[in-house]
């Protein structure tokens, strides 16, 4: 269980990639939201949120991601997720969000997909 929450930002072929590690919960979701809003302000065509290193995600975090996805869609842009951890995928499936977000197995696929 990795309790250290971190977000690393990088640009890959013009796409903003946010690599999140640790647990995204009521305490850390606001930091994710701030980071997403900053990326949205840069008007990049796509934001990729890499959740490969995330060990826990709650409804607050999902709400942040859904909000960012909707804002991106409204602006004619997109937001994609990279998910490999079965626990995280399970939560997305339970909440039916796999039918909302484009979900990829790795960053390269998400950036170019």
């Amino acid at each position: 269980m990795d309790l250290t929450f971190e977000i690393a930002e990088q640009r890959v072929d013009g796409v903003s990639v946010l690599t999140v590690t640790g647990e995204i919960d009521l305490a850390t979701a606001p930091e994710l939201r701030e980071c997403l809003v900053a990326q949205e302000a840069d008007r990049v065509p796509a934001i990729v949120v890499d959740l490969t290193g995330v060990s826990f995600i709650d409804s607050t975090a999902l709400g942040v991601l859904v909000g960012a996805y909707r804002r991106q869609e409204d602006a004619g842009r997109t937001l994609k997720l990279v998910v490999t951890e079965p626990r995280i995928l399970k939560v997305l499936e339970i909440t039916d969000l796999t039918s909302v977000f484009p979900v990829f197995a790795d960053v390269d696929e998400a950036v170019h997909g």
Partner: protein, 128 residues
């Protein structure tokens, strides 16, 4: 015979991890599998979030009870100006979907004059 553990924490987002850790410890002690433990951790987080609602002050009171292969978690809010034991808002849709999918029972009742939300999850049977 049942075992109970009570946890009282201030309404602070960074302290909800204590509720999750307690849930995980209780579940491990009750010989829940890893998947069930992770489910319970998430459900307890959602239970706390739904009870807190929009409240930013007060005290969150949780009672974890292990009984016959199941864990019951009751959660209520104690605070100034909130005598009925709940925050102002109802659980959001995502939170409800998670709770409904991962527990065997959930509901609300009144304990000591305070409304509490509760969940109950049974240990999954392991295929032999």
């Amino acid at each position: 015979m049942s075992d109970s553990v009570e946890l009282t924490i201030p309404v602070r987002s960074d302290l909800l991890i204590l509720a999750r850790l307690t849930a995980a410890a209780m579940a491990a002690r009750a010989e829940f599998g890893i998947e069930d433990i992770e489910d319970l951790r998430l459900v307890v987080e959602e239970l706390c979030i739904s009870v807190i609602g929009t409240m930013t002050t007060g005290t969150l009171h949780l009672r974890f009870t292990e009984d016959d292969g199941a864990i019951t978690v009751g959660c209520s809010l104690w605070g100034e100006g909130d005598e009925d034991g709940r925050g102002e808002s109802e659980p959001d849709e995502l939170s409800l979907r998670i709770i409904e999918a991962l527990v065997d029972e959930y509901g609300e009742d009144t304990v000591g004059g305070r409304r509490q939300s509760w969940i109950r999850k049974h240990r999954s049977k392991v295929a032999s």
